[in-house]
Amino acid sequence: MTEATAPKLTVPLAKPTPPAPAVGDQPKAEPLIVTQNLSLFYGPSQALKNVTFDIPERLVTAFIGPSGCGKSTLLRCYNRMNDLIDGVRIDGTVKIGGQEINAKDVDAIELRKRVGMVFQRSNPFPKSIYENIAYALRLHGIKSRSEVDSIVESSLRGAALWDEVKDRLHASALGFSGGQQQRLCIARAIAIRPEIILMDEPASALDPIATSKIEDLILDLKKQFTIVIVTHNMQQAARISDYTAFFYLGELIEYDTTSKIFTNPTKKQTEDYVTGRFG
């Protein structure tokens, strides 16, 4: 990594530049993502019900719960990917670094530069490994050849992929294995130095070896990034996350440290789920 720390709130979210709060002044204990009374509707059906909780900085927070419980929907609220879906209505507030992200003057494009995302199905562009990352950098105005070269290398190293692809940087990304493609997507996400990386079941389509590589990578990445991960794999949540949120039917049932959730949950539903009695 060329930079030791993730950049702070350098880009103001709102387009007519408001006086951005100096983040350094805020107490360290301030959570990075604050979610309050968040409800989300797809047309008439409600997918999220009054979700309220805080996600801390530079830790891994896992969302678990049975299919259809709203965890992916919630994840997609943090980079406003739900904007792309017709008929979605959001109530409540989501603040990232103290700024309300659903405010009218917030530019979703700028938000997504600070909140990266890795998808369930790896989605490298049908370009070369190099171009996949260079495309992301070009979007952010980084065009100088030497700078792009060095960021391509550092982000591929950061995604533990450099040694495997360094001789084939200009080969099509689609020719690599599923696990390599997913790590390329992670490299692409970290290349633009976001503060937060959202991961939507990043390893669910991968074999156990590729999965363990991704998990090692996540543990390494949390030194620099705040990671929010949706997973169906309970062991995975237990292995890699610091905090775990359990969702059921659009409600946040329980949110606590991962060890508490998996060893001594407060709610019966949580216990039933993590012990595999339902879901």
Binding site: I109, E110, K113, N123, Y135, A136, R188, A189
Partner: protein, 330 residues
């Protein structure tokens, strides 16, 4: 889980009520046989027609076909097999098809992008546009010809003349011309390009678009840099279909640009042109001696088929090259 894995396998009992017939008794099913035969026959019929038509044209057309025939004009006598030539028609047809492609691809592609990427799929407006596109595809080509005459020539052209050269009584734009014929054909083939582009855009996985947007790309950046390059072969397929359809059409150009006879080749967009398809019509209806003209008629049809084939091959080669480029990258 482990309890299930170590449990002894249940003894295999005969299922109650299972029929005890043997599989090795293949039955003759008439309906199956009949429909296999019917579908095969239908396919054969198509093939037979194709062979008959092409064979007939090739055999009879070959007699009048010669190097002189495709490089000479019709100055001497367009109905005499030893003097007639179709070079001006080859030029005219090629020019109108290429011009049409230049007009139709951008408009069609942009419309398709709007319909698939921007418009709300279920909105009333989108549905109206979509049904308009489908209806456009069903309009008879002679209607396009009349539309071209009424709109492009009498309205657009006449107004251009009035605005640009009011002192000149002789119309320049307000008469049949290469540009109006090409535009009329472009309107006619628009649905083909729109539908082909839409299909290729829809085939691109949502994940690619999301991947780009999640990196902070705008919708426009995503469409231009990620979506369109992927859709290019499909767009070209639309172009190929449009070229195939337009090359042989006569009705749309009848009133909008095709000429019975021209002493010179067209050298401006406002010139009229001679056209292969229209020439076939002329040869078959205007000849003083039908028997003597027949070899030229067949040869002209053959040239039209070959030209359509050639235009298609060029488009297919471009598409293949693009696909190869996309696979190899840099």
């Amino acid at each position: 889980m482990s309890a299930v894995a170590t449990a002894p396998a249940p003894p295999s009992l005969p299922r109650p009520g299972a029929p005890k017939t043997s599989f090795h008794k293949k039955q003759f099913r008439f309906s199956s046989f009949f429909f296999t035969g019917l579908t095969g026959l239908a396919t054969l019929l198509i093939l037979a027609f194709l062979v008959i038509i092409f064979g007939n044209i090739l055999m009879l057309g070959w007699q009048g076909f010669s190097w002189r025939f495709i490089t000479a004009g019709t100055e001497a006598d367009m109905f005499d097999v030893n003097k007639a030539g179709v070079f001006p028609m080859i030029v005219g047809t090629t020019a109108r098809v290429i011009l049409m492609t230049i007009f139709v691809i951008p408009v069609g592609v942009i419309t398709a992008i709007y319909l698939t990427e921007y418009a709300h799929a279920t909105s009333r407006f989108t549905r109206i546009i979509r049904s308009a596109v489908n209806n456009l595809a069903g309009v008879p080509s002679i209607v396009f010809g009349l539309f071209g005459l009424g709109f492009f020539i009498s309205f657009v052209g006449a107004n251009l003349d009035a605005a640009l050269r009011p002192s000149n009584a002789e119309p320049l734009w307000g008469k049949p011309a290469l540009i109006w014929a090409s535009l009329t054909l472009a309107v006619m083939t628009l649905p083909v390009v729109i539908v082909a582009t839409e299909e290729s855009l829809k085939a691109i996985p949502l994940g690619l678009r999301e991947g780009s947007l999640a990196l902070g790309a705008t919708k426009l950046q995503t469409i231009i840099q990620i979506v369109l390059p992927q859709a290019l072969p499909g767009i070209l397929t639309g172009g190929i279909l449009a070229v195939s359809r337009a090359a042989g059409e006569v009705a749309p150009i009848l009133f909008t640009g095709a000429a019975y006879y021209m002493a010179t080749l067209p050298h401006a967009l406002t010139d009229q042109f001679m056209d292969l398809g229209y020439h076939v019509f002329i040869l078959s209806t205007q000849s003083p001696n039908v028997e003597r003209t027949r070899p030229i008629l067949y040869a002209t049809v053959l040239v039209l088929l070959l030209l359509t084939l050639a235009l298609n091959i060029v488009a297919i080669l471009i598409r293949a090259r693009m696909r190869r480029k996309m696979r190899m990258l840099h």
